[in-house]
């Protein structure tokens, strides 16, 4: 039974990675939010499994916090934002999607190479997943770079945090509770600030295209 559960962590990890790729490929913002929510669900599930296997109670709490934030609160906020701002599509990415996907594959290979030596040292049950977690972080970063609209960038930022969280859970059975609470709070504050920011961009430029921000540069 526990072996099966241990394998299920790898499954969730793969789900996270696939979702990260899906997010890179996705241009509809509404779907992007759904994907982000799904990623949150997978993360919660993985955390619960690790908590059950290692018997560390504080991981239950962090799973609950993650659920409340990343599955419920932030998606709702994002939904409200896109309804209020009336953005559906991210018109164009800076690179086309197949190129981005190829870059993503390179990043995944890089991440696995990187995580290999570390994973061999780790004794944690989910040591094989560190590479995936790292890949998720890098993929989300890539997404932030290639997207031209503010909302997908924010989602990229949040998804990067998902990857980090997963890395922490998988490799070291979670960070200390106080750190996790701090990060959760940071993410919440970050999303609020970014929300205000998005409304401001919208007011200023009548568009959410962040390329307008180039005008702010001082010559």
């Amino acid at each position: 039974m526990s072996l099966l559960l241990a394998q299920s962590i790898n499954l969730f990890a793969v789900v996270l990675l696939v979702l990260a790729f899906a997010m890179i490929a996705q241009r509809r913002i509404l779907t992007l939010i759904h994907l982000f929510t799904l990623q949150g669900v997978a993360l919660v599930a993985a955390t619960l499994v690790v908590a059950h296997l290692t018997g560390q109670h504080h991981l239950y709490y962090s799973a609950a916090v993650t659920f409340a934030l990343k599955v419920v609160l932030i998606p709702i906020l994002l939904h409200r934002v896109i309804i209020r701002l009336n953005v559906r599509w991210d018109v164009e990415t800076l690179f086309n999607i197949p190129t981005t996907m190829l870059l993503g594959i390179v990043l995944v290979i890089f991440a696995f190479n990187l995580a290999g030596p570390i994973a061999r040292l780790s004794t944690s049950i989910a040591h094989g997943t560190l590479g995936i977690a790292l890949a998720c972080v890098l993929l989300s970063f890539l997404m932030m770079i290639v997207r031209a609209k503010a909302v997908p960038q924010v989602i990229g930022f949040l998804s990067m945090e998902n990857g980090l969280f997963f890395a922490a859970t998988a490799a070291t059975s979670g960070m200390p509770m106080i750190v996790e609470l701090g990060i959760a709070f940071d993410v919440l504050v970050g999303i609020l600030i970014l929300g205000v920011f998005m409304f401001q961009i919208r007011e200023q430029f009548d568009s959410l295209d962040i390329r307008h921000l180039e005008k702010l540069k001082e010559d």
Binding site: L114, L138, F141, L216
Partner: protein, 666 residues
């Protein structure tokens, strides 16, 4: 209660006055009539306590201020007591003057000004008390910042803001050098108390590095060439009491720093340090006085004159180092006595002159010499007291400037005893340089006094110049009296300074001086040289009285008043007087290569001929502008990183992350 504790209470009192200023931010009369005079009273207390401390043993204390585990170490010894005395005695006059000077509409609200002013005073006092590098740097920076805000009191004027930033920049460059100097002095022990630095004996190379850093760092604050450019900008920009405080007292904290590091913290000195200081001092003194002679703005003139005096002080220190490095401590003590005498003398007469320009400025609203004149009739107090300052500044007896310059030249006469023939030949050149500086300083001061106070008013509105207020006069009288007393009674002063030189070089000239009584000052033997200021004063006064009496008796009886031929002056107008430019013209001509001069001469056929000359420092073009251009070029190169696109910025982070990860795996 120990003296040190009492002094700390005085300093705390200044801080409290500053905070009280914040409480009554905009009530000008309350700030001016209550807080500033109270600050002056504390200044008297500080001077008295410092005088007592000068004649008692060193005291130390540890203040648990600042960071945890890093308290302020304080120490009150002869050197700090002497500089506290200078600070206290000078600020009394300046604070009293400031009470009558600051009015509504000086830019910064008066309460805030009061805070900055008293913070400045407190930080200067604390600088000389500090006994570890940490406390010293904190106080040094507080001093720089509070004076920066004081300089930019009229911060709405762009030129004043620029002057302030220039000052701040050079002050910080200097502070970095001082910090590095302390870093060398602690000799890898990690203990930054001065007690530890005294205990270390550095290898000669590192000792020289420390001394060079100290010279550069403190020199930036003192205004030695080529780090002097901030002085002529910042002094005119600041309100007069502030310029007085900066020129008279703040520059002296830099002298204190050089003495503290050079004589106290560094053990053995090397002879070439002295030669270096002599060279720096001579260049600064000559440069300062030559520029001073051609200025047409009275505060710029005084600022350049401060550079000259700082040069003289550096010469004195250099000579002290030179003698000390050859073990001739008695002569070193003589040179240092001259230096310290000049420190207090300059503090008093330069603040007197700056404050006098303040009064003139308030009375006429004019700073340019070309538009002043004939003010002696309207402001007799200011004029007569300025005359005292001017005479002292020119180094004429019986005022303080003469005593210090005379002592300095006396110590030069002993340089023939140095065991190095090369030095024996070169050092008389410096002495000759000092003589030139003194003569030019006299020339400059004649120009300053003559153009501002004598002759006829150059502008009609000068006829309505109102005399200085009683408080302003009181401040000037205090400083003028101090200058006169310093000139008339040098022997007690030298006995006080002896405590400092005993501390610095283990020798002093008090015994020699005391042997000849208090009337006659003789630093070595009376056969060699002696000076009796009171005798001089009596003789000069008698001679003047006699001359006046004789002239009245012999000449006045024969006076005839007749109109027929009036020497071609039927209508004598103010335009016929010698102007500041005209008076400075010979100097401008002689020292032409020193200036970066731009002249606009009118053509003979011009209907409205106009003449303009601007004089700039060569150092702007030689040193500062190239540095500024280099900085800008680097800035532009770095600026290329700034694309303004979020994707690019993210890419920077991304690439950095990848590279770092690669480095980690490799």
């Amino acid at each position: 209660m120990r003296i040190l504790d009492a002094i700390l209470i005085v300093i705390a009192g200044w801080l409290a006055l500053g905070l009280a200023g914040i409480a009554v931010l905009r009530q000008t009369s309350l700030v001016a009539r209550v807080l500033f005079p109270a600050g002056a009273v504390l200044g008297v207390a500080l001077a008295g306590l410092a005088l007592a401390a000068l004649f008692s043993a060193p005291q130390t204390t540890v203040l648990a201020l600042g960071l945890p585990d890093l308290p302020f170490h304080l120490r009150l010894d002869g050197l700090s007591a002497f500089f506290l005395l200078v600070i206290g005695a000078t600020t009394v006059g300046i604070s009293v003057f400031a009470a009558g000077y600051f009015r509504v509409g000086e830019g910064t609200p008066p309460g805030l000004l009061c805070l900055e002013y008293h913070l400045f005073l407190a930080s200067m006092a604390m600088v000389v008390l500090a006994d570890d590098a940490y406390a010293f740097m904190v106080m040094w920076e507080t001093m720089a910042l509070s004076s920066f805000f004081l300089v930019t009191t009229n911060h709405r004027v762009p030129a004043i803001r620029e002057a302030g930033f220039l000052y701040l920049l050079i002050a910080h460059v200097g502070a970095i050098a001082i910090l590095l100097c302390f870093g060398v002095l602690q000799a890898n022990t990690g203990d930054y108390t001065f007690a530890n630095m005294r205990a270390q004996s550095l290898p000669p190379l590192w000792a020289s590095v420390a001394f060079l850093l100290a010279t550069a760092g403190f020199g930036a604050k003192a205004g030695i060439v080529p780090l002097h450019v901030w002085l002529p900008e910042a002094h005119p920009a600041a309100p007069s009491p502030v310029s007085a405080l900066m020129s008279a007292v703040m520059l002296k904290t830099a002298i204190y720093g050089v003495l503290r590091v050079g004589f106290d913290l560094l053990g053995a000195q090397q002879w070439w340090w002295g030669v270096m200081l002599l060279a720096i001092g001579l260049v600064s003194a000559l440069y300062g006085v030559v520029f001073s002679a051609v200025q047409t703005d009275m505060k710029r003139l005084l600022a350049y004159s401060s550079i000259e005096n700082i040069g003289l002080l550096f010469i004195g220190i250099g000579l002290g180092v030179l003698f000390n490095s050859y073990g001739m401590t008695a002569l070193s003590a003589l040179a240092l006595t001259a230096t310290l005498y000049h420190v207090i003398g300059h503090a008093l007469f330069k603040s007197l002159l700056f404050l006098a320009t303040g009064s003139v400025l308030h009375a006429t609203g004019e700073r340019s010499l070309g538009k002043l004149g004939g003010l002696m009739r309207h402001m007799p107090w200011v004029a007569w007291l300025s005359l005292v300052g001017v005479l002292a500044s020119s180094g004429l007896p019986p005022f303080s400037g003469f005593v210090s310059e005379w002592l300095l030249l006396q110590s030069f006469l002993f340089t023939t005893g140095l065991p190095d023939s090369f030095l024996n030949m070169l050092i008389p050149v410096v002495a000759a340089g000092i003589a030139l500086v003194a003569a030019l300083a006299g020339y400059t001061m004649v120009k300053f006094f003559g153009v501002v106070f004598l002759g006829q008013p150059r502008e009609p509105r000068l006829a309505h110049a109102h005399p200085a207020s009683p408080l302003e006069r009181a401040g000037l009288v205090w400083l003028g009296a101090g200058t006169l007393l310093l000139g008339l009674f040098p022997v007690p002063v030298i006995i006080a300074i002896d405590r400092v030189t005993q501390l610095l070089v283990g020798s002093g000239i008090a015994d020699t001086v005391r042997a000849h009584g208090w009337l006659l000052l003789s630093p070595s033997t009376p056969e060699r040289a002696s000076y009796g200021p009171l005798v001089f004063l009596v003789v000069v006064s008698l001679a003047v009285l006699l001359a006046v009496a004789l002239v009245r008796k012999l000449y006045h009886g024969r006076i005839r008043r007749a109109p027929p031929w009036d020497c071609g002056y039927p209508a004598q107008t103010a335009r016929m007087q010698d102007t500041a430019e005209g008076f400075g013209q010979p100097i401008r001509q002689i020292f032409e290569p020193v200036f970066h001069m731009r002249r606009e001469l009118p053509s003979p056929f011009d209907a409205k001929p106009s003449y303009r000359v601007t004089i700039e420092d060569h150092f702007w073009h030689w040193l500062y502008l190239p540095v500024a251009q280099l900085t800008e070029r680097i800035g532009r190169l770095v600026g290329r990183l700034q694309q303004g696109r979020i994707a690019i910025y993210l890419l920077y982070s991304f690439v950095t992350l990848i590279v770092l990860l690669l480095v980690v795996t490799a």
